[in-house]
């Protein structure tokens, strides 16, 4: 099991463009969460997908949207890119058991997005 995988590894875009990042969860996991990690900061929660629905959302504008597919993989889309969107975007997967003691999130290596 390769664990959580993300693509691409790096991405360079210009202001105003749109970007799509992809995530494949760890085998057996059904929940995907996305985080933004700016340089020198801890990861910030963007949103979480479960059963192809957005279950929770952090304080991010509507420019950030996502999707989960029937195979549990997920995409993060960001429209109208701003310079401030430059960050490492992390995907985390988990298996929803309803018990906090077992709902551990496993992280992917991240996608480094640079907006020029």
């Amino acid at each position: 099991d390769a664990g959580v995988t993300q693509s691409p590894t790096h991405l360079i875009k210009t202001r105003g463009q749109q970007v799509t990042l992809r995530c494949s969860p760890k085998s057996g996991h059904d929940t995907v969460s996305w985080y933004q990690q700016a340089l020198g900061q801890g990861p910030q929660f963007i949103f979480q997908y479960y059963e192809e629905e957005e279950r929770q959302r952090g304080n991010f504008p509507d420019r950030f949207s996502g999707h989960q597919f029937p195979n549990y993989s997920s995409e993060l889309n960001v429209n109208a890119l701003l310079l401030g969107d430059s960050a490492l975007y992390l995907c985390a997967s988990s298996l929803f058991t309803g018990t906090v003691s077992t709902d551990t999130q496993y992280f992917g290596p991240g996608t480094r997005l640079t907006v020029l």
Binding site: S33, Q41, F45
Partner: protein, 109 residues
């Protein structure tokens, strides 16, 4: 609002010395607390979680509800412990993970 603070951005200790990375949280309920670690050029990974009461790589963490703290400790630091450490909180199952800003630990040989 729930919040995790780590007062030290950088921490340097000598090899063999004890190390303590501080973490405080604000939450009125009973959260699940974690320590995540990120070694150079590696992904973020779970080091330990409060509910497991494990000792991983010699690290332990005790939850002090009165002080709302979850400090990470190791009696004898090793060079391979040099990494970025994040304290994190989760309120319920399927909840988001709330991370602190992180502490960069450097173990001096």
């Amino acid at each position: 609002a729930q919040r995790v603070t780590q007062p030290e951005k950088l921490l340097s200790v000598f090899k063999g010395a004890p190390v303590e990375l501080k973490c405080n949280y604000s939450y009125s309920g009973s959260p699940e607390l974690f320590w995540y670690v990120q070694y150079s050029r590696q992904r973020l990974q779970l080091l330990l979680r409060h509910i497991s009461r494990e000792s991983i790589k010699g690290f332990t963490a005790d939850l002090n509800k009165g002080e709302t703290s979850f400090h990470l400790k190791k009696p004898f630091a090793q060079e391979e412990d040099s990494a970025m450490y994040y304290c994190a909180l989760m309120r319920t199952s399927y909840d988001k993970v709330i991370f602190g800003p992180g502490t960069s630990l450097s173990v001096i040989p």
